[in-house]
Each structure stands twice: as structure tokens, then as C-alpha cells.
């Protein structure tokens, strides 16, 4: 404990000196890297920061351990606003992000801040969306479910772990649109506090379908209480998840990736931006990271630098379109 305190005190002192001496340098060298997890310890963003920070340090990409700071609030809004308004020109700052971040940005829920005010550095994996039903459900395929949603949408309540307009909701709407349902507003989405709560309501028979991420469905899938109708991935998942059919192969061309990655301040120098994109690309390719992914059920999804930037832009357009259709934004 005391070593820890001393180390962080030393880090703080060094950090303040660096701030004073800060100026443009030719080649970027990271120093006292900080990773902001825009949530409390224990959540997905916290996990992303801690695991990636540890791996970056072990690969020698940062001179010292990455310091993780938790800045919870507004589903990432508090951290985003702080980076944009107060720490815009820092080069040694990375912030954990995911599809939840882009969803809220797309819907203008970050107090009007936009996705082009930061630099998107790298994605290190994804959790793909699934749509499932209880084991005794009459719906055997995604097509069955979509047919009912088309003909009698009041009959099926779909539970998910995000608020209305959140990613769990949007996933099922993306699938419905791909299945040819024109008015997605008719779909009954029941918002729960988290994926676990939603899947429990399904198993308890209170709702008819579940939308969430594969990691949330795993426990009940293995016990046989939950039948996953489709995974919203471009192709079948690796390992023992290969049995789950994709929506695509059932004729419904829908992909819903909840990616995990990082952004940095918008005023970051090009040298630093290139350094971090490169670092995340190498990290993603490393054996150590592939093992972390496999151990934690994180699926392949590696994009960095400009590639991630254009993916984020596209995802935001897609989310805005669908949010407009359900009347969430104008």
C-alpha cells in the first residue's frame, strides 16, 4: 500500500513537471500514460483500461504501468466532456470506449459534443449481439421471430439490458429492418437494468425474447434455458460458439458489434496519434492479447487509426438513421 502511494505521488510530481516543460517533440515518446475508464471499477470500460494498460506496459509500449482513473457519469459523458474541454491537447491520455459511446454520441446525448472532437485510436475486440428465446419457445429461427414481429408485433416483448435507444434496443431494430419490417416502432422493447436481469425475465417467462451481447447469454445458453436464434456477427464465432447460426446465413443481413477500444484527445499531435494507432495494432496482433480475448470471451474485431475512424463514422450514421426512425432524435 505504501509503495503504491509513493509511486503515485512520484507519478503526480513527474506529471506536473512534464506539463510545465511540455512542448513539441519530433518522435513521440509516451510518459506517465493515463487511461480513463468512464465508469466505476468493475465495469466493461474499467476492464478494457486495466487489461490493455497492463498488456501495453508488458509489451514495452509504455515506459511505466498505465495509470487507470475512473471517471463515471452520464454513460461516459462526464469523461468525454472533460477530455474535450479540459485535456484536449494531451498526448499521454487514452480513454476506454465502446459502441455505447458511439450510440450516445450519435444521439447527441453527450451534451451536444460530437465524435469528431476526439481521435479514435484503436479497437481491441468485440462482443457480438445475440437474439434469443426461452427453451420452450415456439420460435425456432430468427425468421420465425421476425414473421411474428411483422404480423402481430404486440405478441412479443423483447427484453434487453439497455435503455430505450441504447445498443441492445438498436440491435434488434437493425435485425428487424434487415428482415423487411418497415415500421420498427411497433416492436415492443422492454428496457431492463442490465443484460443479466433481462435474460432472467426471459427464463422466468415474463417476456418472449432477449436481445443482448453474447457474453450475457453464455451462462443460460450452456444450461440450456436460453436458445440463441442468431448471432449478429459477419461470420460464425470461433470455438464452442460455432454452433450458433449467424443472422446473415438465415437471410437477414444484420451485424451488431459492440466493439471495445480507445479514443484520445482531439488535439493530440499526429506523432502521438500514429504512435498509439500503431501500438494498438501491435497489441491486438500479439499472442498475449489474443489469449486475454480468448479467456474472456471477447471476439475478433481489430481496427486502428483511420480504419477505426471511418468505422465509427459509419456506425454513427447508421445509429442516427435508426434513432430518427424511432423518434429518438429529430
Amino acid at each position: 500500500m505504501s509503495t503504491f502511494t509513493r509511486a503515485s505521488l512520484a507519478a503526480a510530481i513527474v506529471a506536473s513537471t512534464v506539463c510545465l516543460a511540455g512542448g513539441p517533440t519530433a518522435a513521440f515518446e509516451p510518459k506517465n500514460v493515463e487511461c480513463i475508464a468512464p465508469a466505476n471499477p468493475g465495469g466493461g470500460w474499467d476492464f478494457t483500461c486495466r487489461q490493455a494498460g497492463k498488456a501495453l506496459y508488458e509489451m514495452g509500449k509504455t515506459p511505466g504501468p498505465v495509470q487507470v482513473s475512473n471517471k463515471a457519469g452520464g454513460g461516459g459523458a462526464v469523461a468525454y466532456a472533460e477530455v474535450v474541454s479540459k485535456r484536449n491537447s494531451e498526448n499521454n491520455l487514452i480513454v476506454a470506449a465502446s459502441t455505447a459511446t458511439t450510440t450516445r454520441l450519435a444521439q447527441g446525448q453527450f451534451a451536444g459534443l460530437t465524435a469528431d472532437q476526439v481521435r479514435w485510436l484503436g479497437a481491441l475486440g468485440a462482443d457480438y449481439g445475440v437474439i434469443g428465446v426461452a427453451k420452450d419457445s415456439p420460435y425456432k429461427s430468427l425468421g420465425d421471430l421476425m414473421t411474428v414481429l411483422k404480423e402481430d408485433p404486440g405478441k412479443v416483448s423483447i427484453a434487453g439490458g439497455s435503455a430505450v435507444g441504447g445498443w441492445d434496443h438498436l440491435k434488434v431494430l437493425i435485425a428487424a429492418k434487415a428482415a423487411g419490417i418497415d415500421d420498427v416502432r411497433t416492436i415492443k422493447y422492454i428496457a431492463y437494468q442490465g443484460g443479466g436481469e433481462a435474460v432472467t425475465q426471459l427464463v422466468g417467462g415474463h417476456v418472449q425474447a432477449f436481445t443482448g451481447d453474447i457474453s450475457e447469454a453464455l451462462g443460460f445458453m450452456e444450461s440450456g434455458d436460453l436458445r440463441v436464434l442468431a448471432v449478429l456477427a459477419p461470420e460464425r464465432l470461433p470455438g464452442n460458439l460455432a454452433d450458433i447460426p449467424t443472422a446473415k446465413e438465415q437471410g437477414i443481413d444484420a451485424v451488431g458489434a459492440n466493439w471495445r477500444g480507445f479514443y484520445g484527445p482531439g488535439g493530440m499531435t499526429d506523432e502521438a496519434y500514429e504512435y498509439w494507432s500503431q501500438a494498438f495494432e501491435e497489441l491486438y496482433a500479439s499472442d498475449a492479447w489474443q489469449k486475454i480475448m480468448a479467456d474472456n470471451g471477447v471476439m475478433p474485431f481489430g481496427l486502428s487509426g483511420p480504419e477505426l475512424q471511418s468505422f465509427v463514422d459509419e456506425q454513427i450514421i447508421e445509429i442516427q438513421e435508426i434513432s430518427r426512425e424511432i423518434g429518438l432524435i429529430k
Binding site: N40, K71, G75, E197, E222
Partner: protein, 508 residues
């Protein structure tokens, strides 16, 4: 007996020097964290997760450390409730009602010792419950859909009259105020922002910890300042720290009932420890309060909620382990920890990772005994807080409140909010409006609203869904009886209690 074999295996896992050391450390830190105003079990666990990571602990020892902190904080929360009338965390809210009056009467030692024992009974029995009935109780949790949850929360509010004996109208108004505050933030059922005024810090709603610390701790400091810094009425004499046999006899029933109610509330995800201790108190008051002594330092009013909130802490582990659903804020953090350690909680956890589950259960038994042994002798030390003159104590309370809230939120906005709640709490106390229903409104309001709307959404707007299941009908019956019975019975049986116009430092 399969369970006993498993449990013995669990003890084999838990009884290593490292694990015992971690449990001891966890219990100690947990008690301290729980006793600090504003820092509760969920923050305690969250704060220590990085420690578990950096020590590189495997799953079982990490869980042992964190659940010891959890249980420790549940024990510790009572301390500041009793001594200072400031709940250390939200489940300890009800402990203020009879615990603080006892301290004022100079019975702080007795109150601390008794509540420590009640905590032990509650969590010990609950841990046995987890070991024996986990698979069975999961079925109960599955029975609760949105309609049943709505009925359950209505039941809680229907018995609200039990909190305040003085003025029911004021209690109802306070609850309405709390419900109103709960509406702030993003509305889950529509995604719309309500009463956020474009302020990003309000998107998640008001953190009830900020509300508790503001309403209780800061307003206490303000009251002290109003009295121009003259030492307030907190009793400074110290009595024995043992529990008289008569007291023990009187409170056994209360402990048993509190344990049962708390445990069931814990098992239901979304109900949690606060509801457990709240219902434990109101039920106990209905059952035992014949002479109107509740709220004035009745030992049963102390034992019931303390047993209740600790029992629900144990109960909440059941849905977390076997459904992967957190029953409280703390179990949500524990759940995330498990996922990070690559353990998937769910129906198969008991068969797939028996070492983790049974090691954990064994560790809980150990932690319980440690906490009892640690808490009873320390009562004398804790109680000494009362001998600190208020002119030193009150600034310390203010400082801990500010540091605590800033420590968990890292934002100055929350500090301003806390001060705002402090001023509001001061005004409410002056108006003799009880503060406990305000907090309950904030704690339960969102859940109640969300479940009503979920139910109506599922039924396509048919209100019949609310009483469509036998379970829902049962809950409604209890709610109606709980609401109406005191009006009839109370008038017949209870002698009219003269409206006590005590000093406003007692917020009820």
C-alpha cells in the same frame, strides 16, 4: 449429505493462511469503510478491486477478500447510524430510527453490541440459507416479473406509515419528495432526459449516497452551527458494552423476523438490502410496538433492521451466483469482478466451479465469526466517538463527507449537490419532516416506476396484468392490509401518544 461434503471441501479451500489473512483484512477495511458516512459496501468493494488486481489474486482469494469487505461494510454501516444519526450507508438507514435514540439515552454501548449481534445472526443464518437453498430460491426469483415487483414496491410504500409515528402526512410528503428526486436522469423506458437541464452530471440521476450524506450528515453539521457551536445533546456518558439478558430475550423474535424478511428481499434481484431492512423494521413495528416505544430507542426496532440488512446481503449472493443478476449495487460490482476473472455466473456455476462457490460460502462463515469477534470488543472503542466534543466531531464529519463523496465521484458537481441536500435536510428537519422516507423514495422510486411501465408495455396497456398472478395478488393483499390495518387496529389498541415535540435534532 452432499452439501456437507461440498462445504467441507469449501473450508479446505478457504482455510489457508493467505485466505484467512485476506478475510481478516477485508473484514477490517470493510468495517471502517462501512462506518464512514457516504462510503458503503458497493464503494468499498469497488475501491478494493484494483487492489485485488494488483495483488494478482486468483478467483477464490479475490472473492474472499471482496466479500469480506462486503460483509464488513454491512456490519460497519450501523456504527455511525447509532452514534451520530448519520447512516454509514444506505442499508443502515433504518438503524438510525431506534439506534440513535438509544445512544442519546446513554445506551450506545448496548446498542452497538446488540446490533453487532443482530448483524451476526442475520448474516450467519443467511449464509446457511445460501448453502442449503440456493437452487430452490432461484425459482422464487424467477417468479418475479415486472407486475410482481411493482406490487412488492407498493407494499413497501404502503407500510411507510410505520416509519413515523408522529405525522403520517409529513411522512407521505417526504416520500413524494423522494420519488420526485428519483425521476431525475435518463428515463430507461423512453431514453428521454428528465429534469437534467442539459447538465451531464445529472444524466445518471441523483446518487442516493450524495442524498444520504447531504440530508443526514451535512444537515447535522448545519444544526450544530445554528446552536452556535455549543456541544449538542449527544450523550457523553458511556455505559456497559454488554447486552443484558433481558434485552437479548426481548429482541430474539425481532432478529428472527428481520432475518427472514431480509433474506427473502435479498434473494429478489432489484429489491436488495435497503428494502430488506426497511420492511423488517416496519413489520417489526406492526408486530411488537404495543406501547409506542418504537422510534424512541426500542431494542427491537434496532435488532430487526440490522438483522434484516445483513441477511439480505447474504441473500443477494444467490441471484448473483446462480442467475448472474446482481441483487444490489455491491453484488453488481462483485459480478463484474467474477466476469473479469473468467468465471461466468449462471445456472451452471455451482456445478462448473464448485471450488469457487463453496470456497466463497465457507469464507463467508469465517468472515462472519471474525466480524463478530472484531466488533464486540471494539464497541468500547467506537462508542468513545461520543466523548469527542461536538466542536471537533462535527468538523470531522463535514470533512469526511466531502472527502468521501469526492472520492467516489471525483466531481465537484456532486459536492455542490451534497451541500444542496444538506440545506434541504436542515429545512426539512426544522419542519419536522422525517428524512427516511425521502431516501426511500429516491432508492425505490425508479424501480417502482420502471416495473410498472414494463408491465404495462408487456400487456399492451392492460392494467389487469398487475394482479394476474397468484403471487401478485398475495403481495397486493399484504400491501392493502399493511396500509389499512393500522388505521383500524391502531385506533382501537394503541393509547394516544402525546405528540412529542422533541428538539429537531431528531429527524425521526
Amino acid at each position: 449429505m452432499e452439501i456437507f461434503d461440498s462445504l467441507i471441501q469449501g473450508f479446505a479451500v478457504a482455510l489457508t493462511f493467505q485466505n484467512l489473512g485476506l478475510a481478516l483484512l477485508g473484514c477490517f477495511l470493510g468495517t471502517i469503510i462501512g462506518a464512514m458516512p457516504g462510503l458503503g459496501p458497493s464503494n468499498g468493494v469497488a475501491i478494493l478491486i484494483p487492489l485485488a488486481f494488483s495483488l494478482g489474486l486468483p478467483a477464490t482469494p479475490a472473492l474472499i477478500l471482496l466479500t469480506s469487505v462486503y460483509y464488513g461494510a454491512m456490519y460497519g454501516g450501523r456504527i455511525s447510524s447509532i452514534l451520530l444519526n448519520i447512516p454509514g450507508d444506505e442499508p443502515a438507514l433504518m438503524t438510525t430510527l431506534d439506534g440513535y435514540p438509544m445512544a442519546k439515552q446513554g445506551r450506545a454501548g448496548e446498542a452497538l453490541a446488540l446490533s453487532g449481534l443482530a448483524s451476526f445472526v442475520g448474516s450467519f443464518v443467511a449464509t446457511i440459507g445460501v448453502a442449503l437453498f440456493a437452487p430452490l430460491l432461484v425459482k422464487l426469483a424467477l417468479l418475479f416479473g415486472p407486475a410482481e415487483y411493482f406490487a412488492l414496491f407498493t407494499l413497501a410504500f404502503a407500510t411507510l406509515g410505520g416509519v413515523s409515528s408522529k405525522n403520517q402526512a409529513k411522512a407521505a410528503m417526504a416520500a413524494a419528495l423522494g420519488l420526485g428526486i428519483a425521476m431525475i436522469g435518463i428515463d430507461g423506458s423512453t431514453g428521454a432526459q428528465r429534469f437534467t437541464f442539459g447538465e451531464i452530471h445529472l444524466l445518471d440521476g441523483i446518487d442516493f449516497l450524495v442524498a444520504i450524506v447531504g440530508l443526514f450528515a451535512i444537515s447535522e453539521v448545519l444544526l450544530f452551527m445554528e446552536h452556535k457551536g455549543v456541544d449538542s445533546s449527544i450523550g457523553t456518558k458511556l455505559d456497559r458494552i454488554t447486552i443484558p439478558l433481558a434485552t437479548l430475550k426481548r429482541s430474539i423474535g425481532a432478529m428472527a423476523r428481520g432475518t427472514g424478511i431480509g433474506f427473502v428481499a435479498g434473494v429478489l434481484p432489484g429489491a436488495g438490502a435497503s428494502l430488506g431492512s426497511f420492511v423488517a423494521y416496519t413489520v417489526e413495528k406492526r408486530v411488537s410496538d404495543r406501547d409506542g416505544t418504537f422510534g424512541k430507542g426500542d431494542v427491537r426496532g434496532l435488532a430487526a433492521p440490522e438483522a434484516g440488512n445483513n441477511a439480505s446481503a447474504g441473500g443477494a449472493l444467490i441471484p448473483m451466483l446462480s442467475l448472474g443478476v446482481p441483487g444490489s449495487g455491491t453484488t453488481a460490482v462483485l459480478l463484474a469482478m467474477l466476469l473479469t476473472l473468467n468465471i461466468t455466473p449462471g445456472p451452471l456455476l455451482f456445478t462448473k466451479n464448485p471450488d469457487v462457490v463453496w470456497g466463497l460460502i465457507a469464507a463467508l462463515f469465517i468472515a462472519n465469526f471474525m466480524l463478530l469477534l472484531m466488533n464486540i470488543p471494539l464497541v468500547g472503542l467506537f462508542a468513545r466517538v461520543l466523548q469527542v466534543p461536538a466542536r471537533i466531531l462535527m468538523p470531522a464529519v463535514a470533512m469526511i463527507s466531502f472527502v468521501g463523496i469526492y472520492g467516489i465521484s471525483g466531481s465537484t458537481f456532486e459536492l455542490l449537490l451534497m451541500v444542496g441536500f444538506g440545506v434541504a435536510g436542515y429545512v426539512l428537519r426544522k419542519l419536522e419532516v422525517p428524512l427516511v422516507p425521502v431516501i426511500l423514495g429516491i432508492l425505490l422510486g425508479n424501480q417502482m416506476e420502471d416495473n410498472l411501465r414494463r408491465a404495462l408495455q408487456i400487456s399492451n396497456g392492460d392494467w389487469g396484468i398487475l394482479w394476474a398472478s397468484p403471487l401478485a395478488i398475495g403481495l397486493w393483499t399484504f400491501a392493502i392490509v399493511g396500509f389499512v390495518a393500522p388505521m383500524i387496529v391502531g385506533r382501537l389498541v394503541r393509547p394516544r401518544v402525546p405528540a412529542a415535540l422533541a428538539e429537531t435534532a431528531d429527524p425521526d
